[in-house]
Amino acid sequence: MRADGADAAVDAKAEVRASVAPGVRFGGVSFVWRPWIAGVTLLLAVAGFLVFCLSIGVGDFPIALPRVVATVLGGGEQVDRFVIMDLRMPRALAGLVVGVALGVSGALTQSIARNPLASPDVLGITSGAGAVAVFLVTVSGGAATAVVDSVGLSAAALAGGLGTGLLVYFMAWRRGIDGFRLILIGISVNAVMQALTTWLLVTADIRDVARAQAWLVGSLDNRSWEEVHVALWSTLALLVVVACVAFQFKPLHFGDEVAAGLGVRFGAVRAALLLCAVLLAGVAVSAAGPVPFVALVAPQVAMRLARCPTPPLVASGLVGALLLTGSDLVARTALPVTLPVGVVTAAIGGPFLVYLLVRANRR
């Protein structure tokens, strides 16, 4: 329906064609075409794959990159297949999956809080998972040992992360979610969880402490295919949910009221995505320990590379994977002693956080 009379004046003005984003359309499917973001995302994917293959090639039995690529893509020689698929793949794949999960999780929490500081680490989700894991490792005896034996440390850590995430969400809830309130409560809960972890470590048996501490730094050592399968499939399932809901989330970058005006049930959409973010972080922590800073840094790096005003989900996941896999590679090769991956991500992430804060202060 067109009110043609009234349109005449508007049409005259509309001759000045505004530069509206071009679209890609086939049939009923259409989306905005943004070549820069598409290009950056593709490059990140290629770089991630290459670092992944490099990481597989490095070790006591070095394998050249072309042979790794051939084997990963399904070809390769028998010897290479054994070393790569059976021995090294679980570790490398765990790095990718954990990196993607942390990157996407951080992009979601930062978008929801509309604040770059709101990563799962800052909101206490990671340390909540860590505290539960350390509790189960250090408190020996009936119930705790039984729990670890039956569901595994990873599942218990996941539950801890989920519980802490929900706790922060409900405490921050006051007729809606305010970013600053969410962060302040997250920081407080984070501090409590870390204090709890320290207390457990100080009072525990020395052998348990060593085991707990190794887990707490975050590491990809000694991953089994079983562990990787669990992390891989749960991450993929969560990413499907995120992809379905993400479209409805777009207007939430403008605040609740504008989103509501644009027909979004913001409460439900935000709760669903926050739950996904908490679960993704929980899966990552349960697979590799609380690897620090990836979830905070990856979305911010992705934003700057893709030149987006808000964290781009796909690129954030890819930067997360690249950062984690790259850090693991550096940790194993470039340094005189082999370090857990968490130490390297912290060494890169820490300065970057300082840079973000300084930049925010000067604005």
Partner: protein
């Protein structure tokens, strides 16, 4: 689905109100701000809600737009209870611009205005040719086509407000609810934005807005709703509604109402304390 042009569906002034509040009670928590209020929004004209701070103007607008759920009574949109409609269906009929909205840093004007198409899009259909056309027209109509590639945060307050109105326009509704569209703007930019609102009204839209400036409200609206303490004190054409007595009753403001030298509306001249003394000592100066 019928694709609405951004100039609306041509709903004329046929007398039937499309949006009305019936016995609405609404508040925050246990405190009710509005108690049993009735109002009908006449179609095709600009309705402005005025009243002192905290009288429930914004609350009324937020209730009419379904942002707030009334605890009693109902809001009726096109003959249906708005609470029973889907959020998305409401967004296809009614555009809402909240007070002082904030865009993410670095977001461009065209991307912000494009988001106005959200209620018409789906997961698979995120950017149809209709969307592109409507957004272009919304940009042109609000005079921000030249700014399309600029980040919203680099614009002046007046330009920014035009851009937000442009987004609401891209939504393609012929009912627009604007909550204090001139907040933080100097008088020249406020007049500029209200001229734009006037253009929207001229092209057939129904506008409901909340304004603080009484003279601008009088100048730009055909229907004034004067509120005090959550109730409607008076409603009608500014010429019929604005009197010195009403201003005193609604705002506790002593003012003189004279003829607007450049329009056919009343003009409010407030009398402050010192000037009131002058008024009393030499009344002929103000007559």
């Amino acid at each position: 689905m019928v694709v609405q042009s951004i100039t609306g569906t041509g709903t004329g002034v046929d007398g039937a109100s499309r949006l009305a509040a019936r016995g609405v009670t609404v508040g925050y928590g246990a405190r009710s701000v509005i108690d049993g209020l009735d109002v009908s929004i006449p179609p095709g004209v600009i309705t402005t809600v005025i009243g002192p701070n905290g009288c429930g103007k914004s609350t009324l607008l937020r209730t009419l737009s379904r942002l707030l759920k009334p605890t009693g009574g109902s809001v009726v949109l096109d003959g249906e209870d708005i609470a029973a409609l889907k959020t998305r269906d409401v967004a296809r009929k009614l555009g809402l611009l909240p007070q002082a909205p904030v865009a993410p840093e670095g977001l461009t004007v065209s991307d912000l205005v494009a988001r106005g198409r959200h209620p018409h899009q789906s997961w698979l259909r995120q950017w149809s040719s209709d969307d592109a056309e409507v957004v272009e027209r919304a940009l042109a109509m609000t005079g921000v086509s030249d700014l399309a590639d600029r980040p919203v945060d680099s614009l002046s307050g007046g330009q920014r407000q035009r851009v937000w109105i442009s987004m609401t326009l891209a939504q393609g509704t012929d009912l627009l609810l604007l909550d204090e569209p001139t907040t933080y703007l100097d008088l020249a930019h406020a007049v500029d934005v209200l001229d734009l609102v006037d253009d929207l009204h001229e092209s057939g839209r129904t506008v409901v807005m909340v304004l603080h400036d009484l003279n601008l409200a009088t100048r730009y609206s055909d229907n004034l709703v004067v509120m005090r303490e959550g109730a409607i004190l008076a409603q009608g054409h500014p010429r019929d509604v604005i009197t010195a007595d009403l201003l005193h009753e609604a705002f506790g403001l002593r003012a003189k109402v004279i003829d607007d030298p450049v329009g056919d509306r009343p003009l409010i001249v407030p009398i402050g304390r010192t000037h009131a003394e002058l008024h009393q000592s030499t009344p002929e100066l103000l007559k």
